[in-house]
Homo-oligomer: 334 residues x 2
């Protein structure tokens, strides 16, 4: 492995000049620049990243803190972040967060102050006041995706609006008995965005004077979760709702499959609407609210870069639009 000293020697210049020639900063004659470039090429020289980081104070790495990527939304988001970072020549250090706070502690106590990265994208976590304080002291810009924290940039969907629009769509179709699948009585078990979706559902009902009939079924935000919850919800033939709002498309699709198994026709006997526009939504002809997690990933990187390049620029908050996509899982109430 060759070092910049080797390159300099071969090109017959000093280390300083070689460094300038390669980075393009400072005065170097065209002739010298070329000689250095050739020497570097011949030696297949690549700068040692740790040395560069130590000297410059920048690591060209972004830390991404994220829940398990087993949900479509997160995997798409990660793909978006990856694409954008790659285009900007940044590395991506991935940190998973699980239930146990052990991970989280170590992240904030050791990893962050280790100055391993220039900035952070935190997905779906709301840092505590103490954690925010640490972040702030570490002087590293943070962009959160999902929850919004004072003093940092954020990109989020308006989860309240999304669920409200979904619910309103059903109300407009004449439904009055609309259940929500995917809530949780345990607030710790409900992600920030999912909690807001519950809220949006309740808002829409209240606006239509239907708050009294609100029904929230617990379910994990997965297809089996939606399936199980729907089996229970729809089991009672007379008491069952005429429409369902799923906390996300996975849940909605699970409910849809449950309905089919129970012999309940969708959409004639039961309307279902989801949120996300999951890649499977089209196959199931699911009416849903479209989000673009991949684009949110791009946006998160854009915001982070803004702060990396211009540390004094104001924090921004991007709220991405969501739109209703009507397919064939919803129909007017008979």
């Amino acid at each position: 492995m060759s070092t910049i000293a080797d390159v300099a020697a071969r090109a017959g210049v000093s280390k300083a000049t070689a460094s300038r020639a390669l980075s393009g900063r400072g005065y170097v004659s065209e002739d010298t620049r070329k000689r250095v470039a050739d020497a570097a090429g011949e030696l297949a020289y690549v700068a040692h990243s740790s040395a560069t980081s130590l000297a410059t104070g920048r690591t060209q790495t972004v830390g991404v803190i994220m829940p398990p990527v087993d949900r479509w939304f997160f995997s798409e988001l990660l793909a978006g972040i990856q694409e954008s970072l790659f285009a900007l020549d940044y590395e991506l250090a991935l940190y998973g967060i699980r239930e146990g706070s052990e991970t989280r502690e170590r992240l904030f106590d050791v990893v962050l102050p280790g100055r391993r990265f220039d900035g952070i994208i935190a997905v779906g976590i709301q840092p505590s006041a103490q954690e925010l304080e640490r972040l702030h002291r570490s002087e590293r810009p943070l962009v959160s995706v999902g929850p919004y924290s004072e003093g940092s940039s954020a990109v989020s969907i308006d989860d309240i609006a999304a669920a409200r629009i979904a619910t309103e769509h059903l109300i407009e179709l004449g439904h009055t008995d609309i259940a929500f699948v995917g809530g949780s009585t345990d607030p710790d078990h409900l992600s920030f965005g999912d909690a807001q979706r519950v809220e949006g559902y309740l808002e829409a009902l209240a606006a239509a004077g239907l708050e009294a009939v609100a029904r929230i079924a617990d379910a994990r935000p997965t297809m089996p979760g939606g399936y199980a919850a729907a089996v229970e919800l729809l089991g009672d033939r007379r008491g069952r709702p005429t429409a369902i709002v799923g906390v996300c498309d996975e849940t909605a699709i699970g409910a849809m499959i449950a309905a089919r198994r129970l012999g309940i026709a969708v959409p004639t006997e039961l309307s279902i609407v989801g949120v996300d526009d999951h890649e499977h939504a089209e196959m199931f002809a699911l009416t849903t609210i479209k989000q673009s997690p991949r684009e949110q990933g791009h946006e998160a990187v854009r915001l982070l870069r803004q702060q990396l390049d211009h540390p004094e620029s104001p924090r921004e908050r991007t709220v991405t639009a969501s739109s209703l996509v009507v397919r064939s899982s919803t129909a007017g109430r008979r």
Copy 2:
């Protein structure tokens, strides 16, 4: 941000002693060690990772090269890798590979020689001879998951056996007209493991003297992919097969849903078997071949660590077992 010099000054010792006290290497009196530890605690000292890397030549980072995590298998695998690396105090640098080889080139030309990580886990890619050569020259251990390359450790499922067992199961049930969903006529479009699954299917048929009736339907390894292929395959009422092997569970589930839509009863009129034991397999009562991608992730890290700690140790190849899980999507031929 405090440095080790600050800690040393506060504890009244030299940098060298402070370093030894904190790392636990070399002679330090118990008394001094404690003073240094206290000083470090008071200053909330955390070593600068770039400085440590530069000095030691180790980055405590593992590069993970992986296809998009939108398939369940890969997201589980990633989760497994993450868990194990975290437990070992290693960072995880994630690199996505997409169709375009641009990513791949940059990876091998710039990222690898930049000595950003101590070792690599490559998932589902078969490095070219030239790439292997580079890897070898960079002296960084490689563990591949999936394809096996000469001179590196690998963890893989026996994909051939998996598909063979699935197909044999159907043959034992009396099926003779068994289609495979999820092949591809374009070999570039078929991952290494998926190609082996096609092979296993053909092997089983051949062993039963059924090679003449082999039918391979093109489909992407996703639920919609399986759905679309199955709709076409099952559309012809008289020519349709009595059993289907899916290249993976997603495809198999897609086929299952297609069958239901077409009014074909599973398993009485059509048996379906998948490969993976996807988290949704149970909900669909899908008979399948169980893999444990998460454990494969753990295993990959174990193999890598082996090489990091003992560079001269022989390369290992782990082939994880797969077992048939019979649920209710398969039945004897009527």
